[in-house]
């Protein structure tokens, strides 16, 4: 039942905050914040209670919904879901905080939408019924559309359309695949079901499996986004309000990555193996192309948006490397990218509130004026370029280690992406905080609320960089019984013990 509560709390919060907003906007914000913090508390309690130690599935809930079709309200939580949920509610709560001053019009409806997106995302991370998964996958679109379309910047409607239509198109292809899988399974076993666990290991022809896998993959590649499907992302991220960008970059993109890990690889192991080189190639293309485009952007938010394309390339690369190191790197990348990019978008928003522009050419020399903000930005810029000691380094390092075993050439090219990342990341610092001052500003530095937002982000990214063990351990049990089963039996070291104390003997890589 606890899983249902996790989903219902933000729904309730959404309705309540909409209703109260007409009378008292402050109360509405507090309700939104509290409901997310409550969920964060629940998730943290679960994690601290048994998350790291338990093997496999922590909670399970199954109730019939549309029994004629074999659809059930089927929720389950394992380490991966747990970690992703923690990230969801953490960033969600910060997104409410960051819009405290920014959103002044239609506050109630804004929080309704924000909480509804988060409900949809939480649902995606929890559901183990493919119909229900598609249901949540679509549920998160509409409120996100509103968030961009109503509270966004100048070209918000165009961006909102583009976002909606791209993701919907991908989603419908996935729906076809889901249904085809459903019927293939039924024709083999006679059981009509959307249950994820029963659909695993459905035997099918090679070409059919390939087509179905591609159907799923397209939906996830659009969301991720991988290179040919990425064009909605810069528009949507740039035009969205700060909280919208945070949720988009921090959480929505992760549903694509999660989908690949949870559905594509386990449901179609052979087909994904076969397709792996192409997927890795797309990943590398994303890393380099995204990085190059990021470097050329004149708009602060657009620049950060393109860095997402680049960073998500690592996810694709690692996910299709089929080994445990890469898998753990992917999960780390999902979390650390969520945090670091979320933080950068928040900083861009905070800066926009002060100087009312996103143009990099109109910034410059802000360090003396805003030393606090400069320091925080420096930390996240360093995280973004993969400085050791910060979370992103661990993630990218693990992905590269893993993918080296799968494909050396692509790994070398992907590693070049780190150089590109350094270039565009440093450009942020240079353009915004150093260099010539264009005009004399007297601006307030980060206020108490903003410090309250930034401090946890900084702490988390440091914690992940120095001691990622809890996260890795939580997601590890899964890896063993899922995607990389075929290859995991070999004696390759897992990151879980790579970073564990006294496990240096494992560091000898079979390079």
């Amino acid at each position: 039942m606890i899983l249902l509560y996790i989903i219902l709390i933000p729904v309730l919060g959404a309705l309540l905050s909409w209703l109260t907003a007409a009378r008292n906007t402050a109360l509405c914000r507090w309700i939104a914040l509290c409901s997310l913090l409550l969920d964060l508390g629940i998730v943290t309690a679960i994690w601290l209670g048994n998350g790291a130690a338990e093997n496999g599935w922590l909670y399970h809930l199954q109730a019939p919904w549309i029994p004629q079709f074999g659809i059930s309200l089927h929720l389950a939580m394992d380490g991966l879901s747990l970690v992703m949920l923690a990230l969801t509610f953490f960033l969600g709560a910060l997104a409410v905080l960051i819009s405290w001053r920014e959103i002044t019009t239609k506050t109630g409806f804004f929080h309704f939408n924000l909480l509804f997106v988060i409900t949809g995302i939480a649902g995606v991370f929890l559901t183990m019924d493919l119909f229900l998964f598609y249901f949540f996958w679509e549920v998160m679109l509409i409120p996100m559309y509103f968030l961009i379309g109503i509270w966004g910047h100048e070209r918000r409607e165009y961006a909102a359309y583009k976002f909606f239509i791209f993701t919907q198109a991908g989603g419908l292809l996935m729906l076809l695949s889901i249904l085809a899988l459903y019927f293939v399974h039924a024709s083999n076993t006679g059981v009509y079901t959307f249950n994820y666990f029963e659909l695993l290991n459905t035997p099918m022809e090679r070409t059919l499996a390939m087509w179905l896998m591609l159907g799923f993959l397209v939906a996830f590649l659009v969301k991720l986004p991988a290179v040919p499907f990425h064009t909605w992302l810069p528009d949507a991220h740039t035009e969205a309000p700060t909280a919208g960008s945070v949720v988009l970059a921090g959480l929505l993109l992760k549903t694509g990555a999660y989908g690949i890990l949870r559905f594509v690889l386990p449901l179609f192991p052979a087909a994904s193996q076969e397709f792996a080189p192409w997927a890795m190639l797309l990943g590398v293309a994303g890393i380099l192309y995204g990085g190059q485009l990021a470097f050329a952007q004149p708009d602060f938010k657009r620049l950060i948006a393109y860095t997402s394309v680049s960073h998500m390339g690592f996810v694709l690369l690692g996910a299709f490397a089929f080994n445990e190191l890469a898998y753990q790197g992917v999960v780390m990348q999902m979390i650390t990218h969520g945090i670091s990019t979320g933080a950068l978008f928040m900083l861009a928003g905070v800066l926009y509130e002060r100087i009312h522009t996103r143009e990099l050419s109109r910034m410059g020399g802000l360090w003396p004026v805003l030393p606090g903000m400069g320091t925080v930005t420096m930390i996240f810029v360093m995280a973004s370029l993969g400085l050791p000691g910060l979370g992103n380094f661990i993630a990218e390092f693990l992905v590269l280690l893993g993918s080296w075993q799968a494909n050396r050439l692509l790994t070398v090219l992907a590693a070049l992406g780190l150089v590109v990342a350094t270039v565009y990341s440093l450009r942020i610092m240079q353009k915004v905080f150093f260099g010539q001052t264009e005009r004399q500003y007297t601006l307030p530095d980060l206020g108490l609320r903003e410090w309250l937002i930034m401090a946890p982000l900084v702490l988390v990214i440091l914690w992940l960089g120095v001691y990622p063990q809890p996260v890795l351990k939580t997601v590890t049990p899964n890896t063993e019984n899922e995607s990389v089963k075929q290859k995991a039996e070999s004696k390759k070291p897992t990151a879980g013990n790579l970073f564990a104390p006294n496990s240096f003997q494992h560091k000898k890589q079979p390079l």
Binding site: W65, I66, P67, Q68, F69, T105, K106, F131, Y134, F135, E138, V139, L141, I142, Y145, F146, G149, I150, E157, A160, Y161, F164, I165, Q168, A169, L172, L173, L175, L176, L179, A180, Y182, F183
Partner: protein
Amino acid sequence: MTFNDLLSLGPLLNIAGASVLAMLLVAIWRNHRLVYYFTVLAYLLALMSVVPVARLLPHEIPPLVVIDLFALFNSGAIVGSGLIIVLLSYNYFEEREERKEEYYLLLLLATAGALVLVISRHFMSLFLGLEMLSISLYGLIAYLRARERSDEAGIKYLILAALSSAFLLFGMALVYGFTGHMDFPGIGAYLRETETLPVSVIAGFGLMLIGIGFKLGVVPFHMWAPDIYEGAPLPVTAFVATISKGGVLVLLIRFYQDVNGKEYTMLWWIMAIIAVISMFAGNWLALTQQNIKRLLAYSSIAHLGYLLVGFLSGAQSGLEAIAFYLVAYFVTSIGAFGVLIVMSSSVQDAETVEDYRGLFWRYPWVALVFTVMLLSLAGIPLTAGFIGKFYIVMAGVDGERWFLLIMLVINSVIGLYYYIRIIAMMFRTSETPLRTYIKPALPLAGNITLGLLVVVLIGLGVYPTRMMQLIQEMMTLIK
């Protein structure tokens, strides 16, 4: 005729009787409110008379009609939709027309025609029902005589409907001439016995298909739809979009089943082509449409295409999918037109997309209802439209009609664009009004009806189980 015969025709007799009484009532004492209440009562009675029929199923009154669960279910859907349309009509006509009483008379007659259609399994009853429906619609469409586009719409419908009836009649005559049967099972039996069909019978079917295609408004027989949608009074438009098309579609399904249509690949291909071009043309023409009535007309052409995909899937679940989709489509369309009705003032109908600019910030309730309806048309979760589309896609995958499905998916994405466009317009925040907004009437009864529709729509979207069970039971019977 036995008592059971009469009882099983309950809904039809109720509506038909009420139309006679309504005529007398208008002759004796002309009063809008009175006729309105009388009509509501008649629909309610007809709806209630559906219940006792359930015990008699399946009941046949040879040779003209058959009342099975499929017929009864659709009768219920038609009467229910009719009731909702009547509820939405009162305020609309109260402020517009001097002689508004005959509207109810015609509406009852048209409903009776649709009810005959869904129970008929004979050319005679088919034609009777179809003509009752069409002739009442001539009057209904041109009802608001004072409006400029009203006459145009009425005349257009008159000429084209008469033409299509002629095609249908000629087709039926050819089929009868060579098969010697006018009842559907008889024709089916004849077709099973003959190896190669005579050309005249094929021609007859072709001509009938033209007639039916016109009533359904599928491409290439769709030209009338936008003009009639635009010119007719809004409640009548809702009627044309739902009951009229639904009744004919039900008839088509029954005919197709009785004559074993899926054995004829050529028929399948013709209908497949019609389905695909209906989807594309409907969605394509709706893309840049600025008039919401015309937009909904094109969108309904596309929706008929989706329905045909379910029909053509050949799987048993296809028929279930159609039945479910039809219910969802009835509720959604009436809801959408209901919004237009309550938003329209006595001066003008709220029909351009521009009229809805920023509606959410002025009338959040109506805008929300409209949003839900549009999302349902687009097939987004939490609404009945999603389950309906899901059902249809499922039937298509079951029947392995991959080409049709890909077309459906492409069209769903195109369709999304123009539904979202209206939604975006409603949520647009423009602080400075560019033009004077229309002053909506927002009658209480209309709002309550809309609320009800939203509840049904979301109810079906979240918990469709009951409805599916009912439909599955009903479909196993007509297999």
